[in-house]
Symmetry: C2
Subunit: 490 residues, 2 copies
């Protein structure tokens, strides 16, 4: 199907990529005291497990590391080089790296094609011309990128990123979004196999990185932020190869004309036609999202439900209020999720324990005052979890109701509530049904942070709104449905 030249998952090429993420040594070129040794600190803080060689003739040592005046004078082989010198000096540095047989150069420096100036474009072209004229097999990431975060080896572009390894791989055209992803992910216990910011993609193309994450055994879920596509058909082929094995969630920047104009001035991207993108999503099973928060929250849902995708579209909804139940039902329904009736057995089981006024023992389940009755709450969650009509559950928690009993002197109610709920939700998840929690910011904001942490620590995905939870569940469900079709067509 593919010619040899464009063979997918060329094992040798992929193995070589793998080395880029696990270098035995890294040179940091252009690190200075002025920015507090930023690029050095990223590696030191993450306990990078190879050798670090700072290069800058102005210094002799910092952070306990010995400086070298130039890369040629480093008495060891260098696998990766991180380059943070002004754009006009990058060409010379690249030449030195080629002579030193560096395998991967990550160019942080900006001022290249993204400026859309003749000068910037030429500077970038000069780098590629140099690489080609020397017949070097060096690879270049960037320029205008923040590079690689790989907690396994300790490569990083931020000192405060998590050291935990995870199953999510993220490729980003934007360095800012790569940073945001690492920080936000840490809070939500979305841990990463790799985050890669590729900037202007002068040499290494996003499609190669996608291919690599498809090949990489550590990566089980893939996120992408992309402003433009240069090799549409190849990108589509790679996506089609990957999505039956790993979900790929894609945020496209430049969807509108003005957005595309902004993208052009950001990374010099050509956005690609809307038709191209439409067929990309239709034909590949890639999951489109429309905002950074939706991207993060979809990754959160996949990350915590990796082993139990929903078996269908039917959702059991649980809340404390009738009005809320109605709105939540509308929101789910508009996203293609069904709110089916429960079996008669479930309904009569619920009727036994939920008898307060204002309750509804059908789906959506409106517990009203029974929310405060731990036994009733327990039966409600269990019944939803066991009902054969239900494929997944969204529980909305209104913590102002949880803290109200405490305000009226019932000490420890919140603890009891969370203990019970978490135990039950985990049990349902073990039975193979995804559980998502919507946790709206009504009141008790400071406590919400801690309450939410309970769920994140228990690996129950928790969202600030039913809209976000339902959207994430819809993505999970669509992917689960897609897998069935993909298998059928196999």
């Amino acid at each position: 199907m593919f010619s040899d030249a464009e063979k997918l998952f060329d094992i040798d090429r992929m193995k070589r990529f793998d080395e880029f993420f696990h270098p035995k040594s890294v040179a940091v070129i252009g690190t200075t005291a002025r920015n507090d040794w930023f690029w050095l600190k990223n590696l030191v803080s993450m306990d990078f497990n190879g050798k670090i060689f700072p290069i800058n003739p102005k210094y002799t040592s910092a952070l306990g590391l010995t400086f070298y005046d130039k890369i040629a004078n480093v008495p060891f082989d260098i696998d990766n080089a991180i380059v943070a010198v002004p754009a006009k000096h990058v060409h010379d540095v690249l030449k030195e790296c080629i002579l030193k047989r560096v395998k991967l150069v990550t160019i942080f420096s900006s001022g290249f094609s993204e400026t859309a100036t003749q000068e910037g474009k030429e500077l970038e072209q000069d780098l590629m011309t140099l690489k080609e004229s020397t017949k070097s097999d060096i690879r270049i990431l960037g320029p205008n990128c923040v590079g690689i975060y790989c907690p396994e080896s300790g490569l990083s572009f931020r000192p405060e990123f998590a050291r935990n390894q995870g199953r999510v791989g993220f490729i980003s055209q934007s360095g800012g979004l790569a940073i945001n992803m690492g920080l936000r992910g840490k809070t939500l216990r979305i841990f990463f196999s790799k985050i890669i910011s590729f900037g202007n993609a002068a040499d290494i193309k996003p499609v190669e990185l996608l291919e690599y994450l498809g090949y990489d055994k550590k990566t089980r879920i893939i996120g992408i932020y992309l402003e433009g596509i240069k090799d549409g058909p190849k990108f589509m082929r790679v996506l089609r190869e990957i999505t039956p094995k790993k979900p790929v969630i894609l945020l496209r920047g430049g969807q509108t004309d003005v957005g595309a104009r902004a993208a052009a001035s950001h990374t010099g991207s050509i956005a690609g036609s809307n038709d191209l993108w439409r067929s990309l999503f239709n034909q590949t099973g890639a999951i489109p999202v429309n905002s950074f928060e939706e991207l993060v929250e979809t990754l959160l849902a996949f990350n915590f439900n990796y082993h139990h995708l929903p078996k269908g579209n039917n959702v059991g909804l649980l809340s404390v209020s009738g009005g809320v139940s109605v709105i939540n039902t509308d929101i789910c329904n508009k996203l293609g999720l069904n709110i089916p009736k429960l079996t008669p057995e479930s309904v009569s089981r619920l009727q036994e324990v939920i008898q307060d006024v204002g309750t509804s023992v059908q789906n959506p389940l409106d517990l009203a005052a029974s929310f405060f009755n731990i036994h009733a709450l327990k039966v409600a969650i269990e019944t939803l979890g066991n009902d054969p009509n239900i494929h997944s559950i969204i529980m909305e928690i209104a913590n102002h109701y949880i803290y109200t009993p405490e305000q009226h002197g019932v000490e420890g109610y919140a603890n009891l509530f969370y203990e019970t709920v978490l135990q039950l939700l985990r049990r349902i998840r073990r039975s193979g049904r995804p559980v998502l929690v919507a946790f709206p910011p009504i009141a008790f904001e400071a406590r919400r942070i801690w309450d939410r942490k309970l769920f994140i620590d228990a690996k129950i995905p928790i969202f600030s709104s039913i809209t976000a939870a339902a959207q994430a569940l819809a993505h999970l469900t669509d992917y689960s449905n897609y897998l069935k079709t993909a298998k059928k067509n196999d």
Copy 2:
């Protein structure tokens, strides 16, 4: 245009409604120690400025108030009665209230038509039959409602609601959403003229409440949560009368078939056809929203921009990252907001101070590293605020960048940043252009609460996401555009 019987803004009827919100005395019927005197505490905690008469033969006093065994034995006139006795006793209580010439009865009790049982429907019908047979001019709110919150008089259905009076009036079919609105509003400094939960609307209809808020001088912005419409044409006429004077933001529950089914079991509502609702929004200038959070955030935007609606669709966007800028532009654009080019004068003014790599001095403005340069930031905000092509501004703040300089030892940077930004944004608002802030939850979650409070206290509306900010701005802008048309047609 209207027959006398359906005359809008019948001043006498409206004045009578006004009295319901400012009673000289309230009887609380069925308050008990078991629920910690809840309905009494609501009034006491809010310093209700009239007399309070708890009615329950089992008690003699609580919270310093003397109990009466029955309402007939209260030696004063009673304007309002709050009824929290079991459904089967409500008929007798209503009879006593009629004899006592109570003006308004608020029935909290559930178990009426919302149960969709024959018994519940009959109990509710019996109340109306009693009212009619005695030819009483008593009015009934509910049953199955939490009633009235009016900070001016101290009526309330929650003890912790704000005492501050505000300009937002909210009518809700759902008691839960009325509670959520009061609590959420307090956090966001959305203060209320009135919140009214009307439940089953056996007697007082939502359209009457809408009429009243239209008439009420204290109410300048109206929010509604409605699950069904019984008198569509009248509702539409009232809306048409109000929207040229006050914005009306309407959240409709039961938009989908399953949502409508849930609504039917919640308040026994018939949802009304989608056609009816479509024409209601098209013909009246009412603003449709699709989630509770969107409702709250739209009220937030109107509340803080009440005196300076945008004069057009053109938005100036400001952020710290190129990728973020691109996504934000797409989101705004899809909501009908333009991101116009700036004038050449603005661009050259910006170029003078914003020279860091990776910045963009066009709209969307991508400050990159210049975000840390207070002078550059200042010029950027001022320039956007003065550009004649710009009608409103959305600034996205990434607080992880603000706290990074502090982590690297630049003490007080965050304070300086917020002081500068707030001063500038307030100045722009004074010049008549709305300013909205998007404040995504990337990191520093606990600090975010306090940071956000700075903006809320300065009455700058601040949102958790660009999606929410852009959505709120789109509603502001649509309403502003609608007003122009409404005036033209006058």
